[in-house]
C-alpha cells in the first residue's frame, strides 16, 4: 500500500516516469525534429518558392557559423557548465582576422591557425580558472565575454572591411551539386565540425568522459576519470569552435566588427537546448544541436518569407521555444521542486 502511494506521488511529480529513461532523453529531440518538419511543410504550403532544396541549403549557408559555435557550446553544456563568452570570441576572431589580413597584410594561412590558437587558449584559460578555483562557470565566462568584446574595441571601434582577394575568393566560392544546388565553403567546414564532434562525443574516451562528468561530477572523480582535465578541455573546445565560427562569419560578412555576433551566446545556448541537451548536463546529442540550429534558421526564414512579420519575432519565438523546452526538461528530470 505504501509503495502504491509512493509511486502515485512519483507519477504526479514525474509525469514521464512511465517512459524509459533513454526514450525520455529523446523526447525533446523528437519534438524539435517534428517542429522542423511542420515548419517546413507549413512554409511550403503558404509561401511560393519555399519548397525547394536550396531553401534548406540556404539555412546552412546562413547559419553555418552558428552551427559551429553551438557545437562547441554543446560540449560545455553536456558537462553541466555554460559558456557566455562565445559570442564575444566570435567577434574577436572576425576582428583579429580582418585586422591582421587587411591592416598588416598577413597571409590567411598564418592568420587562421593563429586565430584558432587564440580561441583555444582563452577557452583553456577560462576552463582552468573554473576548475582550479571552483568558481561558477557563468561568472568566469562572463569575464571572458567582457574581455573579448573589449579587446575588439582596442583593435578598432569601426568595422574593418576585407578586400583581400584570397579571402573574398574563398567567401564567394560556391560548391555546386546536382540540379544547380550549391553550398558555400563554410557549410562544408561546419558539417565537418559536426561529424567530428559526433565522433568525438560518442566514440572516444574524452567524449564519454564529458557525458560522465555531466551525469555526476563527484562520481566521475571517484571512478578515476580525469574530471579536471575534461572540464578544462570542454572550454578549450568551446573556445576553438568560437574562433572557427568567427572565421566562418568573417567569410560570410567579409568584415571584422566588434558588434558582430551580438547575443550569439544566447542563440548557441538556445539551439543546444532546443536540440534536446539538458542544461543541467549529462544528456543530449550534438546532432540534436544541429537540428536546433536549423529550427532557429527556419524561424528566421519563415519570418523573412512572411514579409509582414518583423525580425524581432525571431527572438520572441526563440524565447517561447526555450520556455517550452526548459519546462519540458524540468518536468522530465523528475526531481521534486523544494516543498513548502
Amino acid at each position: 500500500m505504501s509503495t502504491g502511494i509512493a509511486s502515485a506521488a512519483a507519477q504526479l511529480t514525474r509525469p514521464f516516469a512511465a517512459v524509459s529513461p533513454r526514450t525520455r532523453t529523446r523526447i525533446p529531440l523528437i519534438v524539435t525534429a517534428l517542429l522542423l518538419v511542420v515548419m517546413f511543410s507549413v512554409g511550403s504550403v503558404r509561401y511560393e518558392g519555399f519548397l525547394s532544396a536550396q531553401v534548406v541549403l540556404n539555412l546552412l549557408i546562413d547559419n553555418g557559423f552558428l552551427l559551429v559555435v553551438a557545437v562547441g557550446a554543446t560540449f560545455v553544456i553536456l558537462t553541466g557548465g555554460i559558456d557566455l563568452s562565445v559570442g564575444s570570441m566570435v567577434a574577436l576572431s572576425t576582428m583579429l582576422t580582418a585586422w591582421l589580413v587587411e591592416s598588416h597584410g598577413w597571409s590567411l594561412a598564418t592568420v587562421i591557425p593563429l586565430v584558432l590558437l587564440v580561441g583555444a587558449a582563452s577557452g583553456t584559460l577560462m576552463g582552468w580558472i573554473i576548475h582550479t578555483f571552483e568558481i561558477q562557470p557563468f561568472i568566469v565566462t562572463l569575464a571572458g565575454m567582457f574581455l573579448a568584446r573589449g579587446l575588439c574595441y582596442t583593435i578598432s571601434t569601426e568595422s574593418i572591411t576585407i578586400s583581400d582577394p584570397t579571402t573574398a575568393g574563398i567567401a564567394q566560392t560556391r560548391l555546386y551539386g546536382p540540379g544547380g544546388l550549391f553550398v558555400s565553403v563554410p557549410v562544408v567546414i561546419a558539417l565537418a565540425v559536426l561529424v567530428i564532434a559526433f565522433v568525438v562525443l560518442h566514440h572516444t574516451r574524452f567524449g564519454r568522459n564529458v557525458y560522465a562528468l555531466g551525469g555526476n561530477e563527484s562520481s566521475a572523480r571517484l571512478m578515476g576519470l580525469p574530471a579536471g582535465s575534461t572540464k578544462i578541455a570542454v572550454y578549450a573546445v568551446s573556445g576553438l569552435c568560437s574562433a572557427l565560427g568567427g572565421l566562418l562569419l568573417t567569410f560570410y560578412m567579409l568584415s571584422g566588427y566588434a558588434l558582430h555576433a551580438m547575443g550569439m551566446e544566447l542563440d548557441a545556448i538556445a539551439a543546444t537546448v532546443i536540440g534536446g541537451t539538458l542544461l543541467t548536463g549529462g544528456s543530449g546529442f550534438v546532432l540534436g544541436t544541429a537540428v536546433g540550429v536549423l529550427v532557429l534558421g527556419m524561424i528566421q526564414t519563415v519570418v523573412n518569407f512572411q514579409g509582414t512579420l518583423s525580425s524581432w519575432w525571431t527572438r520572441i519565438v526563440i524565447g517561447a521555444l526555450l520556455l517550452v523546452f526548459i519546462v519540458l526538461q524540468r518536468l522530465m528530470s523528475g526531481r521534486r521542486p523544494a516543498a513548502d
Binding site: 500500500m1 505504501s2 509503495t3 502511494i5 509512493a6 524509459s20 529513461p21 533513454r22 532523453t25 565522433v199 566514440h203 572516444t204 574516451r205 564519454r208 568522459n209 557525458y211 560522465a212 555531466g214 551525469g215 555526476n216 563527484s218 562520481s219 566521475a220 572523480r221 571517484l222 571512478m223 578515476g224 576519470l225 549529462g282 544528456s283 516543498a339 513548502d340
Partner: protein
C-alpha cells in the same frame, strides 16, 4: 557462510599473507585526531566487517585506505608493497576499489559504460562498442547477473545500480573491495541478492571490507570484525567469538554505567504522565526505504528516549514527526485530533520543534548572528511582515544567552565562529523561545564538552517537569536511561520495543534489545 576452518587466523604465523595490512594509521584534522594508531588486516577470500559508532573513525579509515585522504602517519602495505595513496586512482591501481553508500556511478550512461568507462576497449583510437558490450555482458554473466548492458543505469533500481557498481569495482581491481554501507537503502530481497554476489566474490579470493550498521548482516556475511571506537582500534575478532550483544558492547563502550550511577534517573511519576490522551500519537507511520511502520505515544511532560545504533532509524522517526520528510502511510494525531504534518511549518504550528543532529548543515545559518539565529524560528512563524522589534530581539537573545550560558555572550557574534556546544545551545534557544509542546532533540550532546552536556541534560529534565514533551535521541545509553521516562528501541529501521524506564531496565537489558531486537 564460510566455515571457521577456512577463515584465516590472524594469529597463525605461517598462515596466508594479508593482502592489505595497515598499521599505526594516524589522521589529524584541524584540531581533531580522527585516527590514532589504527590497524587493519584483510586476507584474501574473507569478508571483514568494520564497525563503530559515530566518531569512531570508520569513514576516515576508509578514506585513507581508498586514497581520498592521505594518512598523516602509519604504514599501509598492499600485496607486500608499501603504499601512500594521494588520490582514489592510485588506490585503484594498487588494487583497492570502493563502492559507496550513495551509488557513485553516472545515471545518464549505459550499464556497459558504467562498468567499463575509463577502460573501454578501443579500436583505431575509437571506442569499440560491440567489444565493450560483450565484455560488460561477460562480466555480468560471470556473476550471474542478467541485465541489458545497453540500458541506461537510471532505468534500474538502486539495488541493481549497487550491483553494477560492484561489478565495476571488481573489474577495476580484484584484490580488495571496500563496501561502504551498501545496504542502507535496500530492501530484504535486494540485500540477499547483494550478499550472493559478495559471497561469490569472496570465493574467488577477493578480500572484502564491509561497513554496515546492521548487526544481523555482520553475523550473516562476515568472517572477522574490526571494531573502532573514538578513533582507536578497539579490537579485531573472528565472528565466532562474538555475539550481537558483545559486539554492540564493544562498539558503544566497554564499561557500562551501573544502576547506582544512574541515580539521577527521572522516571518517577512516569505512570502518572503516561495516563490520559497523549499529546502526540503516531500509528503505523512509515516512509518507504527510511523507517518501517511504527507506533508512538508521547504524553505531556514525558521524555521519550530513542535508543539504537547509528543508522538504525532514530533520526528518521523524528523527521516524520516534524514533517521534515513526508510519510508514505500512517497517521498522526495531536491531542486526539488527526493532523497531517506535510512540512515543518505544519509541525511548528502544532507546537513541535526539532533540533537536527547536523547543526551546521540543517540547523544554524552560519553567516547570521547569534541573535538572528535565536529568533529565526519565531520570526519565521510570524512571517516577514510582522518583525520582532529590535529591542525585543535583543532582550530575547540576551535572556537566552544568559539562561543557557552561551559564550561568547555577544548576541552579534557570527554563529559559525562559536564552538560546537555553544552552537547547540543557540539551536536550543531558538526552539525554546517558541515554547514548544514537543521538543525533538537529535543527538543534542554529541561533540560538545562535558559541562555543556550536563547543562543540556539538566535542561531536558527541567522542561519535562514544566510539562514539555521531549523526544530525546542519543547514542549514549547512559544518557537515555538517565533522562527518559520511556525508551523506544530502534534496530535496522524498525522500532523493536518500547520500554517503560523503571528499575528493571538495566543498561544490559537495553543493550541486548538494541543488539538482538528482542527484549529478553
Amino acid at each position: 557462510m564460510a566455515s571457521p576452518s577456512t577463515t584465516p587466523r590472524p594469529t597463525d604465523a605461517g598462515g596466508p599473507r594479508p593482502v592489505l595490512e595497515a598499521q599505526g594509521i594516524r589522521k589529524q584534522f584541524p584540531g581533531v585526531l580522527a585516527l590514532d594508531g589504527v590497524a587493519l588486516r584483510l586476507f584474501p577470500g574473507e569478508v571483514h566487517a568494520l564497525m563503530g559508532e559515530n566518531g569512531a573513525g570508520k569513514s576516515t579509515l576508509i578514506k585513507v585506505l581508498t586514497g581520498v585522504h592521505p594518512a598523516d602517519g602509519g604504514t599501509l602495505v598492499v600485496d607486500g608493497r608499501p603504499h601512500a595513496f594521494a588520490d582514489p586512482l592510485q588506490a585503484q591501481q594498487a588494487g583497492i576499489s570502493t563502492v559507496y553508500q550513495e551509488v557513485n556511478l553516472c545515471p545518464n550512461i549505459s550499464v556497459a559504460e558504467n562498468i567499463l568507462i575509463g577502460r573501454e576497449p578501443r579500436r583505431f583510437g575509437l571506442i569499440h562498442w560491440s567489444a565493450m558490450r560483450q565484455r560488460a555482458a561477460e562480466l555480468l554473466t560471470e556473476l550471474d547477473l542478467d541485465l541489458d548492458v545497453t540500458s541506461l543505469l537510471d532505468s534500474h533500481s538502486l539495488a541493481v545500480q549497487q550491483l553494477v557498481a560492484i561489478v565495476r569495482a571488481v573489474d577495476v581491481s580484484a584484490k580488495v573491495l571496500v563496501l561502504d554501507e551498501p545496504t542502507s537503502s535496500l530492501d530484504r530481497e535486494e540485500v540477499a541478492q547483494l550478499f550472493t554476489l559478495v559471497r561469490r566474490l569472496r570465493d574467488r579470493g577477493v578480500a572484502i571490507l564491509f561497513v554496515t550498521h546492521f548487526i544481523d548482516q555482520v553475523f550473516d556475511l562476515c568472517d572477522r570484525v574490526t571494531v573502532l571506537r573514538n578513533g582507536q582500534l578497539e579490537g579485531e575478532y573472528p565472528i565466532g567469538e562474538l555475539t550481537p550483544v558483545t559486539l554492540v558492547q564493544r562498539m558503544i563502550g566497554g564499561e557500562l554505567a551501573t544502576l547506582d550511577q544512574l541515580s539521577g534517573r527521572s522516571h518517577e511519576g512516569a505512570a502518572v504522565r503516561a495516563a490520559g490522551v497523549p499529546f502526540l500519537r503516531a500509528r503505523q507511520l512509515t516512509r518507504t526505504g527510511s523507517i518501517e511502520p511504527y507506533d508512538l505515544d508521547i504524553h505531556a511532560g514525558e521524555v521519550i528516549g530513542l535508543a539504537g545504533l547509528l543508522g538504525s532509524g532514530r533520526t528518521e522517526v523524528a523527521r516524520l514527526l516534524f514533517g521534515a520528510d513526508g510519510a508514505d502511510a500512517g497517521e498522526v494525531s495531536i491531542e486526539g485530533e488527526k493532523v497531517v504534518l506535510r512540512t515543518p511549518r505544519h509541525a511548528i504550528a502544532r507546537g513541535i520543534a526539532f533540533c537536527s543532529e547536523n547543526r551546521k548543515s540543517e540547523g544554524l545559518v552560519g553567516e547570521l548572528t547569534v541573535r538572528e539565529n535565536i529568533i529565526l524560528a519565531l520570526q519565521a512563524a510570524r512571517g516577514w511582515t510582522r518583525p520582532l522589534a529590535r529591542a525585543t530581539q535583543d532582550e530575547l537573545a540576551r535572556h537566552w544567552i544568559e539562561a543557557l550560558d552561551i559564550r561568547p555572550a555577544d548576541p552579534e557574534a557570527q554563529v559559525r565562529h562559536l564552538s560546537g556546544g555553544n552552537q547547540q545551545k543557540v539551536l536550543l534557544a531558538r526552539w525554546l523561545l517558541t515554547a514548544p509542546r514537543l521538543l525533538i532533540l537529535d543527538e543534542p550532546t554529541r561533540g560538545i564538552d562535558i559541562g555543556a552536556k550536563a547543562e543540556i541534560q539538566k535542561l531536558v529534565a527541567r522542561l519535562a517537569g514544566e510539562g514539555t514533551s521531549v523526544l530525546f535521541i542519543s547514542a549514549e545509553l547512559e544518557e537515555v536511561l538517565r533522562l527518559s521516562h520511556r525508551i523506544a528501541v530502534l534496530r535496522d529501521h524498525r522500532m523493536v520495543a518500547t520500554l517503560a524506564n523503571d528499575d528493571t531496565v538495566t543498561p544490559e537489558r537495553l543493550l541486548t534489545t538494541i543488539a538482538t531486537g528482542t527484549d529478553s
